[in-house]
């Protein structure tokens, strides 16, 4: 464990001494819970319709797919017309596009960012390398199956997928959300232990609480 995460006594600027235990004080360790559906189906459908029309993407380019995000944001392909937009922080976004291969080092940051996003949240795996490793099938540093570590709602295949493929992917994701099938966040809460075990198997340098939001 890193030095800054250990329990220690800190002297504040005003001269007072107090004890700090970063893992307990700075994070909340409560595991995620399943978010129940609304009390009636028609209300849940309304919610899902609203969710599907405001897909806000976390602006975290994890791999090479990030390069096709720029054209999507700009007039040529203009994803904004479908209610899709990019947000700088996990707190404001509900869709995480894993844009390509994930090295083990990035996977750790991705998990952290994903857990900081608020329910309901969705994950798209972009590119062949999120499906089965793609080009990097024999690499020692990239994960081969994204769905072992995060609940994936939709894959977009290709190396690298064109912006049009992403637009089609957004349309498909909207259908999934509207029909109530995009339940990745709940699945993550249900199979939390399994996901954590998988994550810890590849991330040797685990220095964060199990669930950080």
């Amino acid at each position: 464990m890193k030095e800054e995460l250990e329990k220690r006594i800190i002297k504040g600027p005003d001269g007072l001494e107090f004890e700090v235990e970063p893992l307990r004080d700075y994070y909340c360790e409560a595991p995620p819970t399943v978010m129940p559906a609304a009390y009636s189906k028609i209300v849940e459908d309304l919610f899902n319709w609203a969710r599907s029309e405001s897909i806000w993407i976390l602006g975290f380019g994890t791999g090479c797919g990030a390069i096709e995000m720029r054209p999507l944001m700009t007039p040529r392909f203009d994803a904004y017309r479908f209610g899709v937009q990019w947000r700088p922080t996990p707190r404001q976004s509900n869709l995480f596009i894993i844009s390509g291969y994930l090295s083990v080092k990035t996977l750790k940051r991705v998990i952290r960012s994903y857990e900081q996003m608020q329910n309901p949240k969705y994950v798209i795996g972009l590119g062949s390398c999120t499906i089965n490793g793609g080009m990097y099938w024999d690499s020692y540093n990239t994960i081969k199956r994204l769905d072992q570590y995060l609940p994936v709602d939709l894959y977009i295949a290709g190396c690298m997928p064109r912006p049009e493929a992403l637009l089609a992917g957004f349309a498909d994701l909207k259908k999934l959300i509207r029909s109530g099938k995009a339940e990745g966040a709940n699945e993550y809460a249900e199979k939390f232990e399994w996901y954590k075990a998988n994550q810890k198997r590849v991330i040797n340098d685990w220095d964060m609480p199990d669930y950080n939001w």
């Binding site: 080092k105 490793g133 099938w137 024999d138 020692y140 081969k144 199956r145 590849v202 040797n204 340098d205």
Partner: protein
């Protein structure tokens, strides 16, 4: 390049010279000669730009080859200095005081090949990998396929064919 080699040879014992192109040559030298030769090339011969510093693993000879590639912009020539160091407990003198940028290369070599450069700044910190506890990955005896099969969950159904074998079977199915 030959004149420069002859000139250097007056001062330092040098190994063989390989002239790859008319503006690129490689010189083999001994570990102790590196620093004086580098300083000579930088200060007297205008080889002021360290292009790369990298290593090659010659597993069968049980040694690492270190390559220091220097560039002289005024006459547009490059010199590669290569030296062999033993593979066990590989250690090399750091040159970060000659070129500050060498510290980055040395950190990478430390992590990827396990070659130690004592006194190089931050050389023992994680550089690219994080929490790595296998043998350094760029060494020849590290099997990346085996490692990835053991470590990462694979999606079933993926077939990988050796292209040479596959072509042979497709073109000559009866095994002729």
């Amino acid at each position: 390049m030959h004149e420069l080699y002859e000139k250097l040879k007056q001062y330092y014992p040098l190994g063989e010279l390989t002239e790859q192109r008319n503006n690129l040559a490689f010189i083999t030298l001994k570990q102790e000669q590196l620093r004086p030769v580098l300083l000579h090339l930088r200060d007297k011969e205008n080889y002021t730009h360290l292009v790369i510093l990298t290593a090659v693993d010659w597993l069968e000879d049980n040694c690492f080859q270190l390559t220091y590639l220097l560039s002289n912009r005024t006459n547009a020539t490059d010199i590669g200095l290569r030296l062999m160091i033993p593979r066990d407990n590989a250690t090399m003198e750091s040159i970060h005081d000659i070129w500050p940028t060498a510290a980055t290369y040395q950190r990478e070599l430390r992590e990827m090949f396990g070659i130690d450069f004592p006194e190089s700044p931050r050389v023992n910190e994680d550089f690219i990998l994080e929490g790595w506890n296998d043998i350094p990955p760029y060494r020849r005896d590290f099997d990346t396929l085996k490692f990835s099969e053991e470590t990462f969950a694979q999606r079933p159904g993926r077939e990988t064919k050796d292209p040479a074998e596959h072509m042979k079977q497709k073109l000559y199915p009866d095994g002729a």
